[in-house]
Symmetry: D2
Subunit: 99 residues, 4 copies
Amino acid sequence: MPDSTTTLAGLRSDVAAFVAARDWAQFHNAKDVALSICIEAAELLEEFQWHDAAQVAAASRDPEARERARLELADILVYCLCLSNALEIDVSQAFRTSW
Amino acid sequence: MPDSTTTLAGLRSDVAAFVAARDWAQFHNAKDVALSICIEAAELLEEFQWHDAAQVAAASRDPEARERARLELADILVYCLCLSNALEIDVSQAFRTSW
Amino acid sequence: MPDSTTTLAGLRSDVAAFVAARDWAQFHNAKDVALSICIEAAELLEEFQWHDAAQVAAASRDPEARERARLELADILVYCLCLSNALEIDVSQAFRTSW
Amino acid sequence: MPDSTTTLAGLRSDVAAFVAARDWAQFHNAKDVALSICIEAAELLEEFQWHDAAQVAAASRDPEARERARLELADILVYCLCLSNALEIDVSQAFRTSW
């Protein structure tokens, strides 16, 4: 299901099921999940390390670089949704409060 | 609208409208958006700095600490959705590929 | 004392004395010190957020921007030396092994 | 040479020579060096991901885990000294101003 029909609650539920299936109690520890978001964010950033503006633009069009960025972004999002589950945060409402 | 009725596409569209209204061309620069995700992730992490397991659990129940975490999480997510817009990444599908 | 006459051991000793004077047992917890390095590194990075190459060059010459970067860099280094003390790592030798 | 006889200026000079030998102009770009400090800090943090207090203590005694932490710490320090060279920051004096 694409973004057009996937709700935030649906995606959060998928993340929760994924965690439950593996009995990953660690995924309920907010500090380690926050730490994991940070680690994954740095892995995404590594895709752009030493790149000047022209190289960033080129990477944005390169299929392999895009795929790597796509997977790193997914990793960050999964941990964000883990944390929203662990702390029972409605992220759609949080977005509207914050911005 | 809460997570139960907000689609990823809807939230991405809100982020795009927010950026367009401010003419923030910088928000289309993938490297700086990735860098911003990292900075915001570290700000979230700061909420848990020096906390042992008992303090993490206590913070998870404390309204003020929860509110700070909620806003930091929202900031990370907004930048994640900016990047998905800039690189045209369907995050729901990315999640299902990656996990 | 400037870099020309300060040894790594001397600076590590100053950091150790500073920690001891405050009875900061937390500064011996390697995980939280590593986490703190990450947080401080993101604060340094924030000095360059959204800056293009010309702005980075300008900031490198601006006294106030330089002073902020100097203090953030000091914060990172202090935590690095805390960790080298906690784990008894000789950083000069580590540098020569690694590079 | 160990920390007891290595000065900060000496280590900075070694880093400068290393960079000069490779003609790494990128190492003079403060933004990318700051970004690299952040990436390396996250790699160090990864050594402690999901570890509880007992596991952190055990890792602090484990030779292989110690060696990985040692090399990650060296990577962070090299980039810190690159930045001190690029911005002409005396880190010993910065430490004494900041703490």
